[in-house]
Amino acid sequence: MGKQMTEMLKGTLEGIVLALLAEQPAYGYEITARLRDHGFTDIAEGTIYALLVRIEQKSLVDVEKVPSEKGPPRKVYSLNAQGAAELEEFWKTWDFLVQHIEKLNTHKTDTTSKEN
């Protein structure tokens, strides 16, 4: 993953993970797998683990310990009301950013006008 991509993702990954958890509860590895399904292929598992710790500390998720076949129980994370509110806020911020950044993107309008 490129340096710029890593930097940009850093600010949005929390929102992305909250969005995934809004679909359905999951444990750490499932979240990484689902991120890969959504095209985020190069995210290290530990990054997600640290993020899950953070959203747990911020009380955005409820945690349930589910026994696993081998080893310690897995922590299953589900979005709670506070997390849902945070996710709502994330989408608002995201829409704002997309709109305003797109306006700066003269490069893109140039290429499309050339194609036409």
Binding site: M1, G28, Y29, I43, A44, E45, G46, T47, Y49, A50, L51, V53, R54, Q57, K70, G71, P72, R74
Partner: protein
């Protein structure tokens, strides 16, 4: 009663026990997981600057959880840590909002700037 009195001097005994527990779990990991977990543990003692014992204990317990899980699942170290071990290790620590020694300095900095702004207002 006696235990409470001792804890006033030594810090909470329960916390020490949990810390030792986490340390033991890290030492019991198979290689190469033990190597990387031990290196992170060491890094935190130098870098972390966390002064709040509860946070430190929680952090090390979670670190043990992470690497035990990885060892059982056979996840490669690289898949956990990613391209930048320092970034990964520091991000992990930042998730814990405990008190750091730098907090005191930050408070002082904010107070100094406030004071400077206050002086600015005067003729």
């Amino acid at each position: 009663m006696a235990a409470k009195w001792i804890e006033m001097i030594t810090g909470p005994l329960d916390q020490k026990k949990q810390y030792r527990e986490a340390k033991k779990r890290i030492e019991a990991l198979p290689e190469p997981y033990r190597g990387v977990a031990t290196a992170q543990h060491r890094y935190y003692l130098v870098y972390g600057g966390v002064t709040d014992g509860d946070t430190l204990v929680q952090m090390f317990t979670d670190l043990a959880d992470l690497w035990e899980r990885a060892a059982i699942d056979g996840t490669p170290v690289g898949a956990i840590v990613g391209d930048d071990p320092v970034e990964f290790t520091e991000t992990f620590a930042e998730s814990y909002g405990g008190k750091r020694w730098i907090d005191k300095e930050r408070t002082k900095l904010i107070a100094a700037v406030d004071e400077a702004i206050g002086k600015e207002g005067r003729p």
